[in-house]
Amino acid sequence: MAAYIIRRLFAAVLLLLVVSAVTFAIFFLVPRIAGQTVDQLAAQYVGKDANRDSIAAVKQNLGLDQPLYEQYWHFVKAIVAGADYKFGPDASHCSAPCFGYSFKSHVEVWPQLTSRIPVTLSLAVGAAVIWLVSGVAVGVLSALKRGSFFDRFFMGVALAGVSLPIFFTGMLALSVLTVQWPVWGDGINYVSFTDDPGQWAWNLLVPWCSLAFLYSALYARLTRAGMLETMSEDYIRTARAKGLKERTVVAKHGLRSALTPIVTIFGMDFGLLLGGAVITEQVFSFKGIGEYAVKGIQDNDLPIVMGVTLVAAFFIVVCNLLVDLVYAAIDPRVRYS
């Protein structure tokens, strides 16, 4: 087991290195191949007010005129050891881990990211709990009562959930609940958990439900399909023949193996969500990682986009690692050798 974890950890680190290299290449190598000069590349980092001085400053700060391998080395070194950027009267130190420095707003990307992670995390965790519980429960019950009114009704709702995008349900919930019937009369604003846990949950309730609606629909359908398949397996019949209680048969034998694909999907979904619940954060104006990514893209602020990409990749890799470990607990067929 320990050896397995170490192996997987090692692979994860390697994967992150590859991701960083690819990201680096996309941002620094591809534009050069496409024929951009160093000055044009630097000008993109400055933005619309690019002038000779500001371009020169970026070029020097990023070392854009150095060979590529050296640039990549600086890039990785900055993440590990930090870097200095010099503008105006003082140098700003971008301390490790330095995931880039926005030359447009003159801020380090990493503190911005860390200040936004709690928002995205709150959103993702709460929504995940709701969608897992409701999605799996509905899925199991639907499978067991296949063809019943319950099954048809909830599968209909699930279809609606999958079909309605969050910018529709979220916006609708917002205008109904903040203006029409102002249950949230002061609007929905993110409140930090450490400031006021009650307000935190209260304000997150609508975003959680909007986000969970989409996912739980998907999970209900997946669980239902998995359960239907498992429950028709031979070993279920054997279990029943042994005289086990139906509850034991469903929970211990049926659900356990039906859950395996759900956990896989969940790992990916959750990892992706931690990299930024882009639309939900936009709709509710939450300052999470997704909102940051959109801001970066809108302002053409490349270091932000790059930072978010790396962090999102990190979350996905970590979540997948966790999924691999969870397999052991739920699926006896998995062996770590």
Binding site: A57, G88, D90, S92, S105, H106, S115, T178, G187, K295
Partner: protein, 608 residues
Amino acid sequence: MIRGDLPSTAPLHPPTKGASLKVKTRKATAVLATAVVLALGASACSSKSDSGKGGGGGAKDAVTDAALTSIVNKSDKKGGTASYEVSDVPDSLDPGNTYYGWVQNFSRLYGRSLTSFKPAAGKEGLEVVPDLAESLGKPSPDAKTWTYKLRAGVKFEDGTTVTSKDVKYAVERSNFAPEALSNGPTYFKAHLEGGDKYQGPYKDKSPEGIKSIETPDDQTIVFHLKDPFADFDYLATFSQTSPVPQKADKGADYVKHIVATGPYKFASYEDGKGATLERNPQWDPKTDPIRKALPDKITIKFKILQRTVDNNLLNNSLTVDAAGTGVAPETQPKVLEGKYKKQTDSPYAGALSYVGLNVHVKPFDNIHCRKAVQWGIDKVSVQQAQGGSPKGDVASTMLPPTVNGYAKFDLYPTQNSAGDIDKAKDELKQCGQPNGFETTLTARSDRPAEMAMATAVQASMKKIGINANIKTFPTGKYFTNFVGVPDYVHSHNLGMIMTAWGADWPTGFGFLDQIVNGSAIKPSGGNNVQELDDPQINKALNDAIANTDATARAKAWGDIDKLVLENASAVPLIYRKNLLFRPENAANVTVTQAYLGMYDYLLMSSSK
């Protein structure tokens, strides 16, 4: 120095730069249709619903457009929190690194510039008054030297006394250090003697700094200009003259720790998210006749979805939409109807949409062909296309009504502004083109309102036999690569150019100089798209800006406006308007014409 493209929230000149207009007018036509239907439906029962709910709180005196001419919901009550939200991020809250109109307005809460605009209703709001200075600037007779005396006893938030050197330093860093602070305008650099040579305070470490700004003592500051410039008091209203202590300046990082001189200081600032302002105990009301500073606290949040900002205004949980360009198109029908209507204001945005007729592109080199267009355009159809009367009024002059020097006239009056086909055809005959001609009409592809207007213009032209083919370009490169490049315009036969303009400061010169002065024609990035280079107009502009008599100057702007329209090379279409909403909790609400028709943030307080 006008920047060609711009950020998305209202900068000093919104239509040329403000993508906000672009976002907000997308569905304008459809929304307007809905609005009309709803308004008609609502009118039947409006008398009832109006007397019912909605008049609660302090908004009893509120009627539609009340804030255009009066201060709505007047209050002297101290305390409470005024909350601001904005759908975008500011270019910077650093007074020395911003071009946005709303930041200029907002920054007066924490920074005091040499002069400012009077916080007052209606026309009075255009008046320049001394702020950090004890009186307006004292010009030399040739308007090339300007002297200001600072008020005694003004302090920074840390208790140190503000000196003229801090003002000088603020001007130096904001105008001469593009490597770190590149957002703001550079009028001081353009007009100061030796401004083209000075390297800025970060590179030039000499203790005396730029020589053309003198500080003979701690209270006095003298600006030496290379040309006469009688509008200098307007330049002094820019947040760039609010003092910055050199030892606290960290270049672009200064925005994180701005040192306040106004009634508020920063309690917190988070990049991309917002800021909280609290009272600055070092601010002495005795030194400050223009600020009442009623709220105890001011909060501002960035990047809130426009729909959410609107919702928060409607449910009364927010005090003001800081961008000041009005509600989203989706919200328009809701506020133009029933109980919300009396809480709306539709002020002029200080900007004009117009068509430039390039005098070097045939046949517009002939004045009669230009006049044919002047007579031929159905301006009402253009007004409808851009979103109807809540978003703009039909224009007959270059200067919008809220610019100092505006004179009302119409050289090409037609019935209901619907165009006069006979007169247009008559001009075409005199031009030697009785059967009309073919030309190109340009517009910005990512500005739906402008595209809609271009289509309406095209339809008008068709009626008089002019076949205008619409050609579109992206906003970001419109002036730098296409319509602002004379060579490109000539070689591609771009006869009719749709554009819009708002002034960096609200005077005839601030508005006209960059769009009608021959000296504003540049190889690239110019805004004089007509390539108008009329010696009489150029001279009139240069003479007037050298005239220190404000009344004579104001009259001159109207006369120049008339000259431009006699030349017929620019066809004014629409004076643009914002559709603003004032929630019930907002007190002391009035529109300031000086800042592009948004509310005056110095006055504003909240009952919350």
